[in-house]
Each structure stands twice: as C-alpha cells, then as structure tokens.
Amino acid sequence: MGAPARAHPKLTLQFITTMASEYATSGEYIKHHLQNLTYGKLPAGYERTDHHGNVVEVLPAPTWTVAHNSQEAKDMGFMAFHVDSLGVSLVLGAIFTFFFWLAARRATAGVPAGLQNFVEWVIEFIDDSVRGSFSHVNPLVAPLALTVFMWVFLMNLMDLLPVDWLPWVATLAGVPYLKIVPSTDPNVTFALALSVFFLVLYYSVKMKGPGGFFAELAFQPFPKFLFPVNLLLEGVGLIAKPISLALRLFGNMYAGEMIFILIALMFGGSWVLGLFGGVLQWAWAVFHILIITLQAFIFMTLTIVYLDMAHSEHH
C-alpha cells in the first residue's frame, strides 16, 4: 500500500508513518480512514482549529464548506453531505445502469454475446429470486431488486481496493478525506433501507387499505382485546425491518473495512510485518469476495421478502 516504510522498530503500532505525514498515531490513521469527506454548513462564530487544537479561523457568517476534521463534520449536523459516499455511489450506479442500458438497448432474441450474456445472466438470477420469493404482480419489484443487488454489490466491491490507494491520490489532490466504500457509511445503507421501508408502507396501505394494515398490526398474533400488546409486538417487528436491513449491511462492510485498515497498519512496520500484512490482506480480500456478494444478495432477498409481505394478507 503506497506507504513509505520508515520503520519504527520499537514503537511500530504507536508511531506509524504513512504517506500522509500528519498521522501521529495509528489511532489517527484509523480515524482518518473512517472519516467521510463532508461538505456542510458551519454556523456563524464557529471556531475552526488545526490538528493541534489551535484556533485558526472564526467564521463571520454561516458557511458551506468542507469539514477539515471529524469534529467539524459532527458540528455541521444534518446540513451536510458525504461527498465521497454520494459521489462514489453515483459513479458506481451510473456504471451499472450504463452497461445494463447498453445491453438492454441492443438486446435481441437471437444468440446473445458478451455483455448481453452477462446482463442476461444477472437478470435471470434476479428474476428467479423474485419469482421464488414474490408471489404477486408488481412491475416495480424486479427492477428494484436488480438495482439493489447490483448497486450494493458494486459499493461493497470498493472494499477490495486497497484502503490507501484512492485516499492517497485524493490527498495528493488536496482532498482531506476520502472513504471509497459507500456501504460503510450508515447514511447510504439507511437511505436504501428506508426507501425500501417506505415502499413497504406504501404497498401495505395500498393492498390492504389503511384499516387492513392496522388490523394486521393490531389484531394478531393475540386476540383482539390484547391489541396494545399486538401493536407493540408488530410495531417493533415493522420498525426492525429497515433497521436490521441497514445495520446488517453497514456492520458487515464497516467491520470488513476496519480489518483492512488494521492490516494496512502493518505496512508501516518492518518488512517482515509488511509481508505478513500482505498475506493477511490477500486472504481477507478473498474471503471478502464472499461477504460482499452475500451481503448484496441478502439485502436484495430481504427487500423482495418485505415487499411480498406488504402485498400479502395475513389471516
């Protein structure tokens, strides 16, 4: 990983030197890798500090700017965007839709070749999954499942890029932070999960009517007079859907990324440690190929299942 190996034999983990020389400790290195590039609004009178804690600037008016450290990102509150998450996921989604669109535009019933072959393979896989789990007619579900699977898969795939490559390039370009795996950003996973959740609510009400949906929440599994208990039980179950959906993906990818970062720390140590780190990184990356595919698949399958439940009457 691009880190010039200036080894500190005794204090290897304490004083890792990486390409960005401002990392004083391994803790800072990790923090830096877990910080999104945030563009947001800082309030008037905000005191901006350098990384030694000295105040370097006091903002005269509310300002939209790039956060220079994690504290600033936090202080921006809700009015902030993770430019890296949005940008990377947008690029990945554009790549995915472009190639699929290309294949769709040239799709023929004749003998498929190359790109069409691959796209048809994916589409048939998704179609099988939808047919297997979704027993109603809704033209939205299959394209939704396709988008979820491919997009989440591509976002997860960024995890296999060595953790320092793109951030290092970004640093050279003067960008302070860059987190290239969008699915390690809870904003991203929750955006997907909440979108799915709103669709679940929408179709629940549309298919069963508001009364039917309420009855489903309130009048089962226990008899009607216990409706507060039912409501609590079913309500928690309902809320748990998007939260588990988002946290499962986020947790898996975040943990995976964290391990990559920890492994990457070894490259700053002695060459023996670096070599060992290389082997570890390779092994973890191979294992991660399974994880990223599995997580994308789980997210897609649960999306289909939740929507199927939204369409089905419970008795």
Binding site: G77, F81, A104, R105, T147, D185, N187
Partner: protein, 156 residues
Amino acid sequence: MNFNATLIGQSITFIFFVWFCMKFVWPPIVNALETRKKQIADGLAAADRGKHELELAARKAGDNLRDAKAQAAEVIAQAEKRAAQIVEEAKDAAKQEGERQLAAAQANIEQEANRARESLREQVAALAVAGAEKILRREVNAQTHADLLAQLKAEL
C-alpha cells in the same frame, strides 16, 4: 456515525436508479428473454411436427411402395397371361394356316390330277381316234365319226 442530508441525497439517487432500471433496463431485456424462450419453444414444436410429418411421409411412402409392388405383380401376371394367350392364338393361326395350305395343296393336287386325267383322256381319245383312223382309214371319215368320238371321250 453522523446522520445527515447524505441520507436524502442517497435516497434520491436510489429512486432515480430504480426508475431508470424499471423504464430502460428491465423491460427490453426481459422481453428479449421471453421472445427467445418463445422462439425456442416454437422451434421445438416445429421440430416435433416435422418428425411427425416425416413419420407420416414414411408410412405413406411404404404404402405407395406396397401398392406399386402389387400393381407391378398384377401387370406382370397380366402380361404373362397375355403372352400365353398370344402363343395360343399363334398356334391356332398356324394350325389353321397349315390346314388351309393343306386344303389348297389337296385342291391343287386334285386339279392337277383332273388336268392330267383330262389330258390323258384326250390323248387316249386321240390315240383311240388315231387307232380307229388307222383301222378305219379306209372306210370311215374322221369327221363323220368325230361326234361319236366326243361321246366316247365324255364317257371316259
């Protein structure tokens, strides 16, 4: 874990991509797949039909062959019969011709015999006349006795 407007931005992006897939990606590809499925099914059905037709044709060809063989056998039998008949007819004709020729020959022979007899008779008559002339030279005129001789000749 800062929650911020990224949530909204990402949701909008997500909705856009889903809409795009729903509009421009999924239908054409699924259509192509369906069309191909149908084409393959049609092809298989056509192959089945072809096989069936082949079977029928083979059966028909067999029938035709059998008919033709039967016909040929009949023709041959008829031809043989006809040949036998012709031979028979030829035999009859030959026999008749032979008989006719035999009859003609017999008639000829008879005629020749008659002619020979006639000539003999005339010669005998002439001889008799000559004899009688010689005998009667002196006493009888040939001319006066010619009637008598002719009468004699008819009696022979």
